[in-house]
């Protein structure tokens, strides 16, 4: 079935390094993608989104890249900080799907001091 998944379940990085979290999706009708950050005991927090007519979008310390050819999405976090430690989810929405988001299983990002 259609799914959104992540390549790496756990990513450990040193403070100050850049982090890259990857996500693969299988629904070719997907046209809107979102990255969420979820800290323990909290709801998912919106980080950044990108529409299918774009390849790259930048925010504050974060960049999302979309490769529609291989159905791949990535989140880059610059100068990773301890406060970035959390589980990161990519989510996908397809045209005509209303507000239904399909989430992957998540990547645990651990920032080491």
């Amino acid at each position: 079935g259609e799914s959104v998944g992540l390549h790496l379940p756990t990513l450990s990085v040193q403070e100050g390094d850049n982090s890259i979290i990857n996500c693969a999706y299988s629904n070719s009708a997907s046209d809107y993608f979102i990255w969420y950050k979820q800290e323990s005991g909290k709801g998912p927090q919106f980080i950044i989104d990108i529409r299918s007519n774009m390849d790259k979008r930048q925010g504050q310390r974060v960049t999302v890249l979309l490769n529609k050819t291989v159905k791949h999405l990535s989140l880059q976090i610059a100068a990773t900080q301890p406060g970035d430690s959390a589980v990161y989810f990519c989510a996908e929405n397809s045209r005509g799907g209303g507000n239904k988001l399909t989430f992957g299983t998540g990547t645990q990002l651990k920032v080491e001091l």
């Binding site: 919106f46 989104d49 209303g98 507000n99 239904k100 399909t102 998540g106």
Partner: protein, 114 residues
């Protein structure tokens, strides 16, 4: 401005009981969606409501139902609780009902079924 609020924060129920979870969206948002998040997994879509009408339903049994009120707040009801219903129930609000707008999540309600 207040974000999405949910109540209660935690809830413990027994198998077979009924539960009602509540959500208040961000002011001005007309769409509310409900998700179930089992420990260690990503959220799974249950329902979407927009302007008090159901706009989407996920693959959940009929024991799950929801509604949206004129003030756009929403309730999620689960009947005949099973142990497998233990999860974090998340509510997300959005101004748009078409999936092209940002969705903001509340802190969730942690439901434990014993």
């Amino acid at each position: 401005d207040a974000g999405v609020t949910q109540s209660p924060t935690h809830l413990i129920k027994t198998r077979g009981q009924h539960v009602t979870l509540r959500c208040s969206p961000i002011s001005g948002h007309k769409s509310v969606s409900w998700y179930q998040q089992v420990l260690g997994q990503g959220p799974q879509f249950i329902f979407q409501y927009y302007e008090k009408e159901e706009r989407g339903r996920g693959n959940f049994p009929d024991r799950f139902s929801a509604r949206q009120f004129p003030n756009y707040s929403s309730e999620l009801n689960v009947n005949a609780l099973l142990l497998g219903d233990s999860a974090l129930y998340l509510c997300a609000s959005s101004h748009s009902g078409t999936g092209l707008g940002e969705q903001y999540f509340g802190p969730g309600t942690r439901l434990t079924v014993t």
